[in-house]
Amino acid sequence: MGLIAGQLASSNHRMTGSHEYKLNQGPEDSISAVKFSPSTTQFLLVSSWDCTVRLYDVGSNTMRMKYQHTAPVLDCAFYDPTHSWSGGLDAQLKTHDLNTDQDTIVGTHEAPIRCVEYCPEVNVMVTGSWDRSVRLWDPRTPCNAGTFPQPDKVYTLSVAGDRLIVGTAGRRVLVWDLRNMGYVQQRRESSLKYQTRCIRAFPNKQGYVLSSIEGRVAVEYLDPSQEVQKKKYAFKCHRLKEDGIELVFPVNAISFHSVHNTFATGGSDGFVNIWDPFNKKRLCQFHRYPTSIASLSFNNDGTMLAIASSYMQERGDISHPEDSIFIRQVTDAETKPKST
């Protein structure tokens, strides 16, 4: 565990605000995902369209490692503090040992891999792909542990305890039980009218938040009983008024605060909002970032938020501000639900 040694070296921050700084040596193309390490507050994994996955030491603001795929990488995830998993347009799933800097190709999908997640409860890696399937992978061997067809291309997925929530094209949402993948536990339709962009489960495992391509977010509960289902709701966000026209932006990223069960959303408007889902309140909005928010990640104790500000070509291949990753220290005032 040579990496953990540098934990206290947290000095040379390039500050952009009082409690925010930009990461050095950022990716050369758009950022597809940022993920904090599950056990330390120090390490951040970043996948990018420049075909690399990079590991950053957030404390010392340095890039610790970088490895290559043969095509742009669409998602990455930590298995444990020393192993990362990643997949992308080359349809290959790779695991990388961050201590020894060694690559292993675990397997492939038939089409690009869109999402990679880890489920600690069942100890399984989950990948979702545009080939209309979800595959499970045993991270110890590592090998394929099953292929599960989905009704359409997988756009997003999230793990809630031993349950897997899959969002596909055609606005479909499927809830699987990772302990028994023989059948789909629940088939739902997104309560939003437009394409699903992102789904993230509550840390308390009771529900999930779903965001759509047209400035809306829905809060849903997994328990199918009517009592609980009554609590679900949706709201508009990431919209700007300009000359009397309402500009509606895609909501690309969601990340939950592990302690408070509040969540941050990021949109193509460049804003990051933090929401209190229980009191249905917005807790705060940060300043506007240079370009679209592509990905967000709270660290494990909820003191830092990684913000990937990166144009995702949602309006075509046009010129745009530089892609960058910001690390922001967040306070309880910004993330804790107001008790009153």
Binding site: E110, I245, P250, Q313
Partner: protein, 430 residues
């Protein structure tokens, strides 16, 4: 081996939808052999590549991709059905190019319109719409399809008028139109010869009428909610049962010679036929069953019902002056209330009365919206390339489009590299 394959397609012959252009036997074999394990990935890949081609196309003939995509879909899904997505595709393509005048008389586009019309519930409305929009008005195939539809619905006169219109607009190819028109004339004259005159004069295609032999009766304790008695013209044609329909024919003919009642010719029994009122409202969908047509109510009396369901003939007798003795324990039997909470019981529920939506209506709405969008600024603007994402039948996300651009670039680069290598080797060899 080949024989085995032939047997296989023979076995599922009834599942294959007829196609005007016919089907490639190889495509049929492939489609039917894949049928067992559902949608195979090869089909999905092919579809995906068509979908991305639709979005990435930047030439000057976007209809070509659509045309190839739809032809592929027809060949790949011989059973038709929902998963083929054919109706959605047809609707999308005809909607997409309604504004493009250059396609209006393109044979491919007109063919797509005809397929769209044939797959819809009211083909005639769509042909009429095409005519007003000027789509296919110089194409013989349009008039042929329209006339055939009229003929199928039994009005050969109208079919003939359609052909006349085609000649007037000098639709091309003229020979084909002439040939089909002659065929129609031949069919009509054969029918006349066989004394099976069709009723051309009716504005609407005939609905098969049902004749009841006896009045409906309600059963059980529950009250009949709908009146079982028919009103207006329905009474006239129904009350007497079968005999009344034949009777006038018999009566007229009895003086001259005996006419054997023929149930097939009963349709032409004019006098007893209810006359239809002119249209007060636009036609509704004719896909519904058991629909009662609206009629004038002013001369119709709704029979009053008591709670036992008998028709009230006279006012009820006045109440007796004495109080009849009722034993205290003798409560009138009450209806057991419905225990199931309708909010909980969602197993079977009635379909919610939704707005009736036909493809044609959607099309018109689409045009309306476009006009509105042109006239005034839209209150909302989506901040992503919505048009490109929606340009197709399947859903696409930004990342897929970007991936498509990336792969295209990679192919070009690798081509460039090989070209350079070729040039370099050529240069070295000379």
């Amino acid at each position: 081996m080949a024989e085995g394959g032939e047997v296989e397609w023979e076995l599922s012959k009834e599942n294959i939808q007829p196609l005007r252009r016919g089907r490639a036997i190889s495509a049929l074999h492939q489609a039917l052999s894949q049928r067992q394990d559902g949608l195979c990935s090869a089909i999905n890949q092919q579809r995906q590549s068509f979908e991305s081609e639709l979005r990435m196309y930047d030439g000057d003939d976007p209809l070509d991709v659509w045309d190839r995509y739809i032809k592929w879909t027809e060949q790949t899904f011989p059973q038709g059905g929902k998963e083929s997505n054919l109706t959605t595709l047809l609707e999308r393509v005809v909607t997409r190019f309604t504004e493009e005048k250059k396609y209006h008389n393109d044979p491919r586009y007109v063919d797509l319109w005809i397929k769209f019309a044939e797959s819809s519930l009211e083909p005639l409305d769509i042909y009429r719409y095409m005519q007003t929009q000027g789509i296919g008005v110089t194409q013989a195939s349009f008039y042929i399809a329209w006339a055939e539809e009229h003929e199928n619905q039994g009005s050969c006169l109208k079919a003939d008028l359609v052909y006349q219109e085609g000649f007037r607009r000098s639709a091309e190819p003229h020979d084909k139109l002439l040939q089909f028109h002659k065929a129609l004339q031949a069919r009509v004259s054969r029918q006349v010869m066989m004394n099976m005159e069709e009723d051309d004069s009716d504005d609407e295609p005939k609905q098969p009428e049902r004749v009841s032999l006896a009045d409906l009766k309600h059963r059980g304790k529950k009250k009949a909610i709908a009146p079982v008695n028919r009103t207006g013209p329905a009474i006239k044609s129904v009350s007497g049962g079968l005999q009344s329909r034949g009777a006038p024919v018999l009566g007229n003919a009895s003086n001259t010679r005996l006419v054997i009642f023929d149930e097939n010719s009963a349709q032409s029994a004019g006098p007893s036929e209810p006359k239809q009122d002119p249209w007060m409202a636009p036609p509704t969908s004719r896909a519904k069953e058991n629909e009662q047509r609206s009629e004038r109510w002013c001369d119709v009396k709704m029979p009053q019902k008591t709670k036992f369901g008998h028709t009230v003939m006279a006012p009820p007798p006045p109440k007796p002056t004495f109080q009849p003795f009722v034993e205290e324990s003798d409560q009138p039997p009450t209806m057991t209330p419905c225990k199931i909470n309708p909010a909980v019981n969602t197993v079977l529920s009635t379909r919610k009365p939704c707005r009736e939506e036909t493809p044609l209506k959607r099309l018109q709405e689409h045009q309306q919206q476009q006009k509105e969008a042109e006239s005034g600024k839209p209150p909302e603007q989506s901040m992503y390339c919505k048009e490109t994402l929606l340009n197709g039948a399947a859903e696409f996300c930004f990342e897929e489009l970007r991936a498509e651009r990336y792969f295209k670039k990679m192919v070009q680069e690798s081509r460039g590299v090989t070209c350079q290598k070729d040039q370099a080797s050529a240069g070295a060899s000379t």
